[in-house]
Amino acid sequence: MDSSLVTAASVVAAGLAVGLGAIGPGIGQGTAAGQAVEGIARQPEAEGKIRATLLLSLAFMEALTIYGLVIALILLFANPFA
């Protein structure tokens, strides 16, 4: 196949991988952080517990973005098909 076509397809795929892959975790992180702040405001004595849970959930959610990011970076900088 024409290499310029493969390059173009890889760039589009990289954009889609990051863009689509970041939608879900982005919404999730925003919701989690908002709910955590609300919880802290309601129960300041449970701040540590809430922040600890938020830390774990953000770490898990952000890993999903990182997966998409890795695929995109590999497609852009170490493309196996080009």
Partner: protein, 144 residues
């Protein structure tokens, strides 16, 4: 007149109570950092044994960035609700830089570095799973 001393007492106790309530968070952060170091060390030895030193050093590089990532994540979670700073940007920029350097340099390999970076996730799983299983066991024992 009597209200003023009470208020100052409450104000004086407020930082202490905040420190007490944040104890669990700091404990988790320290456990995660320490756990990441331990898991990274064991994996470094295993990769060295089963593959070679070059690959294990690549893994170690990723694990070091994993430590930095967890530290930055913990700092940002600590600031959620207290500062108006956006969360997430710098941490991902560090990871992007690491992967770009790994793809550009011939001495570096992407997969070991990426897996090294994912050490923090393995640590979280090692940390959470026993606790959740023990928690479920304790609950079922209480329920009879």
């Amino acid at each position: 007149m009597t209200i003023i001393p009470q208020t100052t007492e409450v104000e004086n106790n407020a930082p202490e109570r905040k420190e007490d309530s944040m104890k669990e968070f700091y404990q988790l952060r320290n456990n995660l950092l320490l756990g990441t170091i331990v898991v990274a060390f064991f994996c470094f030895i295993l990769v060295w044994y089963f593959y070679n030193l070059n690959m294990s050093l690549n893994y170690l590089l990723g694990a070091c960035f994993s430590l930095v990532y967890v530290r930055m994540l913990a700092r940002e979670v600590e600031q959620v609700g207290t500062s108006k700073k956006r969360i997430g940007g710098t941490r991902l920029a560090i990871f992007i830089g690491l992967i770009i350097v790994a793809t550009q340099r011939e001495q570096l390999q992407v997969i070991p570095i990426f897996l090294g970076f994912m050490t923090y996730k393995a640590t979280i799983l090692f940390y959470i799973l026993p606790r959740s299983f023990l928690g479920n066991l304790n609950k079922s024992e209480k329920n009879g």
